[in-house]
Amino acid sequence: MSGANITHIPELRASLDDPRFVLLVLGAAVLAVFPYFGYIWGETYLVSLVAKMLIFAIAAVSLDLILGYGGMVSFGHAAYIGLGAYAVAVFSKYGVDNGYLQLVCAIAGSALVALFIGAISLRTSGVYFIMITLAFTQMLYYLGISLEPFGGDDGMNTKRSDFSLKLLGIDFTLNDNLFVCEKRTDKNCKVDDRDGAAIYYASYLALLASVWFCRRLVSSRFGMVIRGAMSNPVRMQAVGFPIYRYRLTAFVIAGCICGVAGFLFANHQQFLSPVYMNWLRSGEIMIMGILGGIGTIYGAAIGAIGLLTLEEVLEGYVGKDYWQMVLGPLLVLLVLFANRGIYSLIPHRMSGVPMFVLRIGVFVLALAGFVWLMSKASPILKIAGSVPHLPLYVIFASILVALGLRYWQESRSSHA
């Protein structure tokens, strides 16, 4: 996937004149105060949902680092979500709740596995690379299923990691009673899951850190090397760069960041399941990136939030058991027309804002209309949904078709 035909998106400028910058800062600010209002309004579920979005945004950002800037189409990125989650589960099963220890192990474990998978798969390219990364992750998935001590197929409950921090007798632990109430018995307190705020803010900070780190990385000397290796590997070697080493390092860094997402996800769900490593999850992370815009980092975060919102809306309005049947074909369409993703649609100049608002408005209206239509069509969908496993197969097939189409588009445009 060379970027030869990709139109150049101007770099983000840290100025109030760049709508992208304004939107990102606004978005970060809204997310920063979201739990406060969420808890005031008693919408605990929403806070938890947004926390999940933030966690997957971290995963999508880490994938974009190697996919968008290194041309490494890893179809096994969910492996590291699983590894991060297992780090929590394994320790918590044996009574070790120390979050710092768990986090270090999640990162180290992801790094080791990424080093192993990367060392082998980076010797190939194109479709072979996709297949090998997929195969390794499926191996880990089946390994997880066969690990009976950790629940095997069924998964297991995990305890939240303990991040208490006491220095010189002062308690620095992130306080979940931060906003709303002191005690659970407080009758004004509508919040029943106050640990949620801690997970939320941990994820929020981790996402900000990941985005910052990845943006720095891609414009560093190291970043220029992996981008050059994506654009023209032969020339890079002729100029004198041993590109394998650099690509492998990038692969490991992405694995570590995604391992952090897995660590957070296990804490968020308080549950471990080998399904976290299923290829469907890997495909979902990739679609998040494509929707938001590959090769921008910010886009991946936007895409994660967008896709999970869409899933939530469909599940709520179309129907719990068969919403995947609608999501599947919709994803195929979105990926097909996503082109450079949502991020690339945001204008670079203030003069482009009205047009952008108009386009987004039309798009959201169309999407809302579609969802409404589908909710009316639910009796038909219900019949189709009653066929055993059909919704699941539809989503399987759709993700494969969507990614296949995308790959075909990319490879065709790079040969043109």
Binding site: S2, G3, A4, N5, I6, H8, R216, L217, S219, S220, R221, F222, G223, M224, V225, R227, G228, S231, N232, V234, R235, Q237, A238, V239, G240, F241, Y246, T249
Partner: protein
């Protein structure tokens, strides 16, 4: 006696029964533009591949700045100051012109496991890149994405990438290939600008360009040098006439 910076000594390269380079000796003097011409199949491309380290000769030596580099791999030679440009344009299409050159500079300034500092604001990379673009006359196109440059400009960029690392000898593999007359003229001006400061070994099909530019010319036929001399000497050489125009000439 002028100083020799690159000396090719009795070089032989065989592919099965075909001898592509046959006991070839060429001396490139400091500051000169030395052109190698020859009809198709004379072994020009094989020669440049051996000089840049992509092919290993069967016998003979390549001495660069007094050091025997015959067995060194490509990236070591370019680190010593023996740079090459490519026959087929080989740039980073989605990078800007300046990014392309800066990346070439970066390849020659230590390892690149530096993760946080922006490479785009590092003057150690950007200043040499800007200078190289200026020398090939592309300074005004520095911020243009390479894919949007014209074919001629892309070839100029290619040269800028080669000179950005301050090489002592520059190997140019058909820099005029596929260019229109106007672009060729511009490229000739660019190359003329290097005379005196760089030693160049130019392999080129375009005879007009070669006779305008070269200080000395070596004519290659079937892997052998049949003549070496100034453009005037070569023009008058009867053997060269025979090789190019056939026996009746």
């Amino acid at each position: 006696m002028p100083e020799t910076v690159l000396s090719i000594e009795r070089l032989v390269k065989r592919f099965g029964g075909l001898t592509a380079t046959n006991d070839l000796s060429i001396a490139v003097h400091k500051g000169e533009l030395h052109a190698v011409i020859g009809p198709n199949g004379a072994g020009k491309t094989t020669l440049i591949a051996q000089l840049s380290g992509l092919l290993t000769p069967d016998s003979g030596r390549i001495v660069f700045n007094g050091q025997d580099v015959t067995a060194l791999p490509a990236h070591r030679r370019s680190a010593l100051g023996l740079a090459r440009s490519f026959q087929v344009t080989s740039i980073f299409l989605n990078f800007t012109a300046e990014d392309n050159v800066a990346l070439a500079v970066q390849a020659h300034s230590g390892h690149s496991f530096r993760f946080l500092r922006s490479a785009r604001s590092e003057s150690a990379l950007r200043e040499p890149a800007k200078k190289a673009l200026e020398r090939v006359g592309l300074a005004h196109r520095a911020d243009v994405v390479a894919a949007d440059l014209s074919h001629g400009e892309q070839r100029q960029l290619e040269i800028a990438m080669a000179i950005a690392t301050n090489p002592t000898v520059l190997l140019l593999d058909e820099p005029m290939a596929g260019m229109g007359p106007e672009e060729s003229t511009r490229m000739i001006d660019v190359l003329r600008g290097f005379k005196g400061t760089h030693s160049l070994l130019l392999i080129e099909h375009d005879m007009d360009a070669v006779f305008q530019l070269a200080d000395r010319i070596t004519v290659l036929v079937y892997g052998q040098a049949i003549a070496t001399g100034t453009p005037d000497e070569i023009r008058k050489n009867p053997e060269v006439k025979r090789a190019y125009l056939g026996d009746e000439a």
